[in-house]
């Protein structure tokens, strides 16, 4: 399981675009899966992911249960230069939250 893992984020500017890659550490239980004792695992999944660049919102992703475990996202932002701060925040259905931040290289 990915319980010990950390959220990870990389952002790289290549002139015209900034490429952002995010890997969140989250089990993403759908509420339909069984554990080793044949018990239903209660639903626990990320619902809302938001991304900011220098405090300006860039992107919001809403997830249902069908997002894979340890959600991965990659996308590009217009412009940007090394030194920009990219922040990602997520909230899951139980109210747990996480923030991960990086500096564009």
């Amino acid at each position: 399981m990915a319980v010990q893992a950390r959220d990870r984020i990389r952002a790289r500017a290549n002139g015209e675009f900034t490429t952002v890659r995010i890997l969140l550490a989250h089990p993403m239980h759908t509420g339909r899966g069984m554990d080793e004792n044949e018990q239903l695992v209660p639903a626990e999944y990320i619902q809302d992911i938001r991304c900011w660049r220098n405090k300006q919102e860039m992107l919001a992703v809403k997830c249902g249960t069908a997002t894979a475990r340890n959600p991965y996202f990659a996308f590009q932002l217009k412009g940007g230069e090394p030194g920009d701060i990219i922040t990602v925040r997520w909230v899951d259905n139980l109210g747990a939250k996480g923030t991960v931040e990086t500096t564009v290289t």
């Binding site: 997830c63 069908a66 894979a68 959600p71």
Partner: protein
């Protein structure tokens, strides 16, 4: 003198009442989750069919089949060994994208992902989704007030228990 005293007392009573109400609402746990999840379209995510999910999200709208969306599911395309983690990649030449919706037809809850980009985001967008069994995967892009859809069928070896 007496009037002033009364006014003061009224103010204090009022403040106590409003503070008590606020504390009650906050402690009942209604305030926080409501605010956090206000923008999560519960109805659409809990829908059991693609039609219901789309209806809840975008209402009745004309859908155009569009080739300007490049949509790849699985790796190699349209095949995935493990349904619990199927890569999807979406690229389009459309401008002014308001929403991108990814739906998996045979999943118990078809709506997989709802992306709300701003003007600063550029495709391609990549992510991983779960797919329960062999199914059609649909991408709906809302841009310039129109819906553009495209669909890919994908073969799954081991279901992702989505």
């Amino acid at each position: 003198m007496k009037q002033g005293h009364n006014k003061q007392r009224r103010k204090v009573v009022k403040q106590v009442i409003s503070a008590a109400t606020l504390a009650l609402v906050a402690s009942s746990g209604l305030l926080i989750p409501q605010r956090l999840l206000a923008h999560w379209p519960r109805e659409a995510f809990n829908a059991k069919t693609i039609e219901d999910a789309l209806l809840a999200l975008v209402g009745e709208a004309e859908q155009l089949n569009d080739d300007s969306i490049r949509f790849t599911v699985g790796s190699p395309p349209s095949y995935a060994v493990n349904g619990a983690s199927v890569p999807v990649e979406l690229e389009t030449s459309l401008e002014n994208i308001e929403r991108v919706i990814i739906l998996v037809e045979k999943n118990p809850q078809p709506l997989a992902m709802l992306i709300e980009p701003t003007e600063y985001m550029v495709m391609p967008f990549k992510s991983m989704i779960k797919i329960a069994e062999d199914s059609d995967v649909m991408a709906v892009v809302r841009a310039n007030g129109q819906l553009y859809t495209t669909s890919r069928s994908v073969r799954i070896d081991v279901g992702g228990c989505a």
